[in-house]
């Protein structure tokens, strides 16, 4: 193993311990790790934005020898307008690119979410209930009823009272089960991450793990 690889492992181990030490309390090592993390990650994304976005998406596309694109120029114009924020006098110009971004985001994602989150999910809910085994039928009914009641819970302009309130109540039960299921799965994920770090510390660095 070369010096740089060995050194890298020691450094990584130090950072790993530094971050974990926050669990005990805020301390000098954590503060140092945090500062390095903020600096390095800000630098990392700065570089990535430069090469992946400006270089690849702009420079390479407009200088393409075969078919140069013209549209990335608009991005650059808006980007430069964004930088007017640095000046107090013409800073208000930066509202133009913001207005553009906000408008496009609103228009684009309005349709994307309306289709993939509402229309498609409703289509998924509309299924024949009486199909398959008894277990399947119960499951079908529960899915349809759960979706229905869950939606009732989100009604804002009607008081949750009477039968309506009852349905909303059942709706929140379904939401809670959903949260519980997500939680259970997430516990698994999070534990796996720590297992990965332990494998690094005690396996790769200390070489104690068989």
């Amino acid at each position: 193993m070369g010096f740089w690889e060995q050194f890298g492992i020691w450094l990584a181990a130090l950072f790993t311990i530094g971050i974990i030490s926050f669990l005990y309390k805020d301390n000098v090592l954590y503060k140092a790790c945090e500062a390095i993390f903020v600096g390095v990650s800000a630098g990392y994304w700065f570089v990535v934005y430069y090469w992946d976005m400006l270089y690849k998406k702009f420079y390479q596309q407009v200088t393409d020898p075969v078919n140069p694109e013209w549209y990335p120029w608009l991005g650059v114009i808006l980007g430069v307008l964004m930088l007017t924020r640095l000046s107090n006098k013409i800073g208000w110009l930066s509202r133009w690119p913001l207005a553009f971004v906000v408008g496009a985001t609103a228009g684009l994602y309005m349709m994307v979410y309306f289709v993939s989150n509402a229309i498609v999910q409703i289509q998924g809910t509309i299924v024949p209930l009486a199909e398959g085994t008894a277990g399947d039928i119960i499951a079908n009914i529960l899915v349809a009823a759960g979706t229905f009641c869950g939606l009732i819970y989100f009604f804002f302009s009607k008081e949750h009272r009477g039968a309506f309130g009852g349905a909303a109540k059942i709706g929140i039960w379904f939401l809670m089960i959903t949260f519980g299921a997500s939680f259970g799965y997430t516990v698994m994920s999070r534990m796996s991450l720590m297992i990965g770090r332990i494998d690094f510390l005690f396996g790769r660095w200390l070489e104690l793990i068989p």
Binding site: W51, N117, L142
Partner: protein
Amino acid sequence: MRREIPIAITFIVGLAYVIAYFIPHPPFNHFETWFTDWFVIIAAFAIWLGALNLLKISALKIAHKRSDWPFAALIIISFLVMISIGFIEGYRGIYADQPFQFRDPGTAFDWMYVNVYMPLSATMFALLAFFVASASYRAFRARNLEATLLLLAAFFVMLGRVPIGDIITSWLPYKYQMSQWAAWIMNVPNTAGQRAIMIGIALGLVSTSLRIILGLERSYLGGE
């Protein structure tokens, strides 16, 4: 004028993007890809603002010798080191005989990524293991029916997703073992709940977007 033009831009661009969804004819079919490219280019310019802000605040901290100022210096140093390496490697890669990318294995940027950025990021992520446990011990109380349902679902899924769950219920037929319970919860109530949340989100999102396009929510533009 300082407010009217941006509001007009939002309205026109927003409407254009809604309409583009229904028009397959060029140039409308390119709108989506164009926007993502434009957005990342704008973001690549905007990050200058963020980076300068970070440097400014850290520099002020050092200048005023506020508490913890050495850490502010550390932020500046590590930021500058990272971007220097990134730019040097990037240009070296472009002009090399065998062109490579700034993040390819073997570059200094990759070394920094693997040995500095990655352990910090992965460990920060891994802290969640501890936080999850602490939240479980402290916050998950079967206070009422709702909380109880949440707990029960979590309980079955957690047990069902590791072999221990099936070991505990090994006396039952496979169909009724813990992993099957977990799968049932995922497939049935979880699907229903997820769907209700997703549909609700879609409605809220359409409403919010519409308010923005119509210029009713325009606080993002600030004052005159």
